[in-house]
């Protein structure tokens, strides 16, 4: 992070929150908490940080020190922006505000982005009020207004913040990049208030989705390779790639509304070539070919469907009520498909071992 500690506190070189202790070294002056300085320039290190974050690497290591930051040359009248302490979130805000003089109040969201943290309550009323107090914001600025990202609203109650801190809140746009436009009129257009889920946003989530499940996938593929050959191993890898990468990409284009049925459809299409290869193996009798094809047609759609259902948490629009309904409707079906498909595979395996085929 391109941040440095302000001179008001020479001791806060560590990453551990010096502000909570109101800067232990300047004993006797707890009223002058450290104000850090930041810029709008993103360094190469910042970009590498964003990349590793997107790949789920060192998940705990993408944090900004919470507290008040000075961007540019802010005066007492300059606007105050609330932000999360995930590096990516903070970097979005500071880079969007290039050329502006502003204060950025970073909440301790445990390295989680604004929306997720708001959902959890860490980007919330209590933390905001606490940070206002710790930063002694009342004496830093002359106005009583904080611009909060719109997606922080699930965790923040503006009447509560006003009552507890005297600061009134203004909900800014969803995306930090709209901040310059927003600041011209202090009004967000309907488009600025809408959350979409375009291809780029979906694509950027796929590495983490895939990395999550890569290890079990490799193990299963290795086992299948030994038991059933390379095509079966390829089927396992294809199913996981379809569920974690292809599904997010194709999300709006696959028919039906439910994630589970979308996954079933995608999985069925993927299963067809594998079923064909398994079902036309001349080395095996017809009944075994049939069982092998059935196994592919049952297991692959079940796996893709399950992975698809698990993508609900990454989207920007699924309701808890709806997802719960999906779980009760489809998980049993997926389980039954996977079990019957596996049984078919086991029958073939046992028959081979027993020398029947």
């Amino acid at each position: 992070m391109n941040t440095s500690s302000n001179q008001t506190c020479s001791c806060n070189s560590s990453r551990a929150g010096p502000q909570e202790s109101s800067c232990g070294c300047s004993a006797g002056s707890p009223q002058t908490p450290a104000i850090r300085t930041t810029t709008s320039t993103l360094s190469r290190a910042d970009r590498i940080d964003h990349l590793t974050l997107r790949w789920g690497w060192n998940r705990e290591g993408h944090r900004v020190e919470p507290g008040l930051y000075r961007l540019g040359n802010p005066a007492k009248e300059s606007p105050v922006f609330a932000a999360a302490n995930l590096t990516l979130s903070f970097d979005h805000v500071r880079s969007a505000l290039a050329g502006f003089d502003a204060w950025i109040l970073v909440l301790d969201t445990k390295g989680i982005n604004v929306w997720c943290a708001a959902g959890k309550g860490t980007f919330g009323t209590e933390e905001l009020v606490r940070r206002i107090r710790l930063a002694n914001l009342e004496s830093v600025v002359s106005h009583r207004k904080i611009i909060v990202p719109q997606l922080g609203a699930p965790g923040i109650s503006w009447p509560e913040v006003l009552r507890k801190s005297g600061f009134s809140l203004e909900y800014g746009p969803v995306r930090a990049r709209d901040l310059p436009e927003y600041l011209k009129t202090r009004k967000a257009t309907p488009a600025m208030r809408r959350v979409e889920f375009p291809l780029g946003d979906r694509l950027v989530l796929t590495p983490v989705e895939f990395v999550h499940i890569a290890l079990p996938m490799i193990l299963v593929a290795a086992v299948l390779w030994f038991l059933a050959g390379p095509v079966a191993a390829l089927a396992a890898i294809s199913a996981v790639l379809a569920g974690t990468v292809l599904f997010p990409v194709l999300l709006p284009f696959i028919p039906t509304h439910d994630f589970s049925t979308k996954g079933l459809i995608l999985g069925a299409i993927l299963a067809l070539p594998f079923a064909y290869v398994f079902g036309t193996n001349p080395a095996l009798p017809v009944w075994a070919d049939g069982l092998a094809a059935a196994a592919a047609l049952l297991i692959i759609p079940a796996v893709v469907s399950y992975l698809a259902l698990n993508f609900t948490g990454c989207t920007t629009f699924t309701s808890r009520t709806g997802v719960k309904k999906e779980i009760f409707r489809y998980v049993k079906i997926m389980a039954v498909m996977a079990v019957i498909g596996s049984l078919a595979g086991i029958v073939i395996g046992v028959s081979k071992l027993a020398g029947v085929i």
Partner: protein, 111 residues
């Protein structure tokens, strides 16, 4: 058919509304629309139950059971024998589905 998202827990009591329009500002899916005397419930099906409107309504004209629409978290909770409705591991715990960077996504984000 194949649409589990037709109903949500969102409730709106227009008679209480003072038309402050905060709900219009905080809703990411334009569920509410401007009205002459009070906000209109324009698209309730788009509600994702994030809870922002209810929390920011100064007169409690909106109620919603807010929660995360995250199958992963709910299934994990169910597997551990915990309550699917209250249990959410989202956001930073080891087994979180949304320690993810999702800038917009991960409505684990939500709750």
């Amino acid at each position: 058919m194949f649409d589990s998202y037709t109903e949500t827990s969102l409730q709106y009591f227009p008679e209480r509304c003072i038309n402050c329009r905060r709900c219009l500002q905080v809703c990411p899916h334009a569920v509410f629309a401007e009205g002459a005397e009070h906000a209109e419930l324009a698209n309730p099906r788009a509600c994702m139950e994030c809870g922002a409107c209810a929390l920011n309504c100064p007169v409690q004209a909106i109620a919603v059971q807010s929660g995360v629409g995250c199958a992963w978290a709910m299934i994990q909770a169910a597997l551990r024998g915990k309550d699917m409705d209250t249990e959410c591991s989202c956001g930073g715990d080891d087994d979180s589905c949304c320690g993810q960077p999702a800038e917009t996504g991960c409505d684990c984000g939500e709750k």
